[in-house]
Amino acid sequence: METFIQQIVNGLVMGSMYALIALGYTMVYGILSLINFAHGEVVMIGAMVTITCINLVSSIAPGLPGSLVFTAGLLMAIPITMVLGFSIERIAYRPLRKAPRLTPLITAIGVSITLQQVAMLIWGRSPRSFPAIFGEDAPHKLFNLDVSITNIQITIIVLAILLMAGLLIMVEKTKLGRAMRATSQNPEVAGLMGVNINTIISMTFVLGSALGAVAGALYAANYSRADAYIGFMIGLKAFTAAVLGGIGNLAGAVLGGIALGLIESVGAGYIGPLTNGFLGSHYQDIFAFAVLILVLVFRPSGLLGERVAERA
């Protein structure tokens, strides 16, 4: 039982990060019907830039409390990552707005590879360790059980919840959010209403990248390191989460992210016993992709996916 609860906790932590990243995929898909495969790399850059910024802050102002250094580093990394997301759309996708759908998809893969190479040039091939600004992050015992959770893990869950709630409220309640929804439903008519579609598309990339930067920073903090390769796997998993929730649907991305984190974590916890030790917990990645395949085969519209047909 305690193992199970521990897996749930771990699953929620991973799931929170998947959800933040999945939102970036799903927002762009909702407006452009484009799967921005470069988003995982944006998350990676967010992680790497955060590490650099934190090192910078620590060297400029040594002795600050860890949480303050982290916040400062993150607040520097977010705008840099936003500019990156904005530029990717302007340079790589906008010229292809009217091209067949396969073209921007291939371009996205090209952007991915480019970003990975650039990251290697800047930060090298070996992992950068996340500065030990939090001191020793001793795990807390949860409910007096043999279940532990670290401060970083608590931060991940709380920050993810706040950001996701903020985004959902923005999209549902503000004028900008209404324009984003209108644009995703009918861009031509949104233009007639006076919405500058290009601005909305840019905003979508910028917002998704900001969330991605936070997720990347949290990921690096959680694993105490990051490298130029992390974007691929985490991107693919977050994409899976977006598909699981129903791509294009914001609440779906959140749900899909959490669900995938839980499936993966619980699955990894029991895969050993279930296969008589044949497969160990390092096989946890198969769960994400099994989920992706099952969803695509049995419910391509995802958990909260839209009905494909719209009434006239």
């Binding site: 004028k175 009918n186 031509e188 233009g191 007639l192 209403m193 719209e310 009434r311």
Partner: protein
């Protein structure tokens, strides 16, 4: 002698190699109600979309309210008082009725005025008030048309372009819609009305153009068109 609010010269529009509008001239005076009739595929929708800025013409000029519209991006049309009620209504189906109406006021920052305009739309279409929190996609066709017209009203147009507002609606709803159209016109809004129901359009408007395969073939007063033998045969089913 009032001036032309809209003046179209030698307008040509093509979709790739398909020439949908082949050089038309058209003008609308301030406060005028003008009908544009023609068979399916004649190029009426293309004409309206071009006037509304959704499609850029391949040739010709559009001067609206003294401005050459060619260089102006579509999202700046609405604040110049140009609104289109698109063919098939073009509502945002997963926005509520009220959110759809709010989109009509997107370029205005005067929240009080927007809310007053929405209340006015609710006054004209009480069904929309009852359903203001409902997703617009769940409404009946007639109600959706009310949303589309109401949304255009909230944008406070000077020139309202209407593309087949009666399409697919029951006669009693068509009557209601046209009542509102006449009422909007009576407040001084200039209109260009595209209709399959040519008789209703010509009875509503003062002048009319007949469009056939991308060209304007007849332009006359509504009265004259209603009694024109060729128009009667082709469009009035007499």
């Amino acid at each position: 002698m009032s001036t032309n609010l809209l003046e179209v010269k030698q307008l040509k529009v093509a979709y790739g190699g398909i020439h949908a509008v082949k050089g038309i001239d058209m003008h609308i005076k301030q406060g005028e109600l003008v009908a544009l009739i023609g068979a399916n595929g004649a190029g009426k929708t293309t004409t309206l979309k071009t006037l509304a800025g959704m499609i850029k013409p391949t040739e010709g000029s559009i001067v609206y309210d003294g401005a050459n519209m060619a260089q102006i991006p579509v999202y700046n049309y609405v604040e110049r008082g140009l609104a289109l009620v698109p063919e098939g209504r073009g509502i945002f189906s997963r926005l509520t009725v009220e959110e759809n109406l709010l989109m009509g006021g997107y370029r205005s920052n005067d929240k009080v005025q927007i809310m007053a305009d929405i209340e006015r739309v609710y006054g004209l279409f009480p069904r929309l008030k009852e359903r203001h929190k409902q997703l617009a996609g769940t409404l009946s066709g007639g109600e959706q048309q009310m949303v589309a017209i109401g949304r255009a009203m909230v944008s406070r147009p000077k020139l309202l372009l209407l593309d087949e507002p009666s399409m697919g609606l029951a006669p009693i709803i068509v009557q209601k819609i046209f009542e509102i159209i006449r009422m909007i016109a009576s407040e001084g809004v200039t209109m260009l009305l595209v209709e399959q129901n040519a008789k209703l359009a010509l009875q509503t408007c003062q002048r009319g153009y007949v469009m056939e395969s991308g060209k304007i073939t007849v332009a006359d007063s509504a009265e004259a068109l209603l009694s024109n033998e060729r128009v009667q045969q082709a469009y009035l089913g007499e």
